[in-house]
């Protein structure tokens, strides 16, 4: 029942972000015009990814404290879920960039940082699949995942803000969540949309974890 409550909440918040996101009045800015509404969809992908990757980070730490393989599963599946949102974020960003800056990819610290982050997590999966021994794989990938999350913060949150000449918005202070900078009507849609996608990310992560549990049950039965 409690589980279902979260599913409904996530679904309703996303549904709200679709309707409200399309219907509210937005400030008419040059060049982007109505495509400013992508804020409710494109940016939420990254929020969901960062939260799910944080889950992976926390569970990697928990694994290294306890050496309980359950936490390794939790961390790995969180990283896999995060990659879904990363890819969706990149793809939507490319489409938005094509019709705003004229090209699918521009040389911008924010874009390259996001791409590097995705590659770091893809390398995490490659690393995992290259080690057969369970405990060893869990330990090495947990240490890697901790570094990976720190690099995510650096490449997505810090470096693009420090570098001059980034044309991707979201620089200077905390424009996504701060009180200044974002239109107040848009904030009423933006925050629920973030919450909805973060909840959806967590739900997908839990489905993935249950899939792995099914797999280990099969291994158990095969022995």
């Amino acid at each position: 029942m409690k589980e279902n409550l979260w599913k409904w909440l996530g679904g309703i918040l996303i549904l709200y972000s679709i309707f409200a996101g399309l219907l509210i009045r937005v400030p008419d800015l040059p060049v982007i015009h109505e495509s400013i509404r992508n804020l409710f969809y494109h940016v939420c992908m990254w929020f969901a990814m960062i939260v799910v990757m944080a889950v992976s980070f926390v569970n990697s730490l928990r694994f290294l404290r306890t050496f309980n393989l359950r936490y390794d599963t939790l961390a790995a599946e969180a990283a896999r879920t995060g990659l879904l949102f990363g890819f969706l974020g990149i793809l939507t960003g490319m489409v938005w960039a094509r019709f705003t800056w004229g090209d699918f990819w521009v040389k911008d610290p924010q874009l390259n940082g996001a791409a590097v982050t995705i590659l770091i997590y893809l390398a995490y999966l490659v690393l995992r699949s290259s080690i057969d021994e369970e405990q060893k794989r869990a330990r090495i990938s947990a240490v890697y995942a901790i570094f990976a999350f720190v690099l995510l913060i650096v490449f997505i949150g810090i470096l693009p803000r420090l570098s001059e000449g980034s044309i991707h918005p979201g620089k200077g202070g905390n424009p996504g969540l701060g009180v200044n900078g974002l239109d107040s009507t848009m904030r009423l849609v933006f925050y629920p949309a973030i919450a909805g996608w973060v909840i959806t990310g967590i739900i997908i992560w839990r489905i993935r974890v249950r899939l792995v549990q099914l797999k280990s049950r099969i291994d158990e039965l095969n022995d």
Binding site: I18, H33, E34, S35, N38, Y41, L84, I207, I218
Partner: protein, 54 residues
């Protein structure tokens, strides 16, 4: 195709996200289905083995 208000960009972005999530969930569902079938099969086999032993 490019209308000046760029509303189509929003539609494109939404389409990417929702087809992406939908296909992803579809694949997960297929995997779950396959695995739970296998668990059922193995459990039935194990049961049969226990019964023939006793």
């Amino acid at each position: 195709m490019e209308s000046s208000d760029k509303m189509f960009v929003v539609i494109l972005v939404m389409a990417i996200i929702f087809t992406g999530v939908f296909v992803y969930l579809l694949l997960l569902d297929r995997q779950t289905h396959r695995l739970s079938k296998e668990v059922e099969k193995l459990e039935a086999e194990r049961k049969a083995r226990v019964q023939t032993k006793s």
